[in-house]
Symmetry: C2
Subunit: 146 residues, 2 copies
């Protein structure tokens, strides 16, 4: 049984971000990749949409400049031929302040001939922003709860 591309990609992305070894990751990215990590790009310019391998490699280098991954805990996993969906809790530190941040991410990946061709990541961004700021944002309570 062949190993699912998700595992090879996860290791390659981990090495790219933590060790700045980008070759394995680059070899796994489709030239026409369609990539989007949803979130506030004003605060985190490495989030957002990217089209094509060059733009994706550039953004992964920016992520490596800003974030160090401490631990990835997989909470939910679905694998299919050439696709994967997973929810993870990712413990990181920021490179500039060494501040610990834990974010929950949903990842939807598609592979073409073993290479990553589509990525969508959704993050509990409000929690991420509050942790990054290091303080809570005051929110009104909305609605009726009778």
């Amino acid at each position: 049984m062949t190993e699912h591309s998700l595992w090879r990609l996860s290791r390659a992305l981990h090495r790219a971000i933590n060790e700045r070894q980008f070759d394995e990751f680059a070899a796994m990215v489709d030239e026409d990749i369609d990539w989007a990590i949803y979130g506030p790009i004003d605060m985190f310019p490495f989030l957002g949409a990217r089209m094509g391998k060059d733009a994706v490699l550039d953004t992964v280098r920016q992520i490596a400049n800003n974030v160090h991954i401490r631990k990835v805990e997989r909470e939910t996993l679905m694998l299919d031929d050439g696709a994967a969906a997973t929810m993870v809790r990712c413990a990181m530190t920021t490179q500039d302040s060494d501040k610990p941040i834990t974010a929950r991410l949903a990842q939807f990946l598609q592979f073409r001939a073993g290479k990553l061709s589509r990525l969508r990541i959704l993050i509990d961004t409000f929690d991420l922003v509050e942790q990054t700021l290091g303080r809570p944002i005051d929110l009104p309570r909305i609605g009726s709860f009778a």
Copy 2:
């Protein structure tokens, strides 16, 4: 070929929230359901973790009191025996102000004997909060982007 439980659940949940017809949805919820929608519960008390059918029905009633669904656009879908993962853009209005809000959600669902036994929903919550407030939250730009 039997219809996947996801579709029946989607219709039942839609009817519960928009028409306050809770019976079909209730019939599809496992007694021991493990339910979590991640997000700022100070602002949206109907988010958060719920254990068991009664707590889930109660929270879906609260959602129905606060939100009306306009349109659900499915962007990504994975189906497996007894499980589903999907990313959707959900256009809603709040019941009190009729304000239109569009949120991106990742849903991970597990079914046991055709009933929903586990739900995890992750939302791009910062975007959701800003839309609900009706104004942007000022954020610093972090990190280095050389």
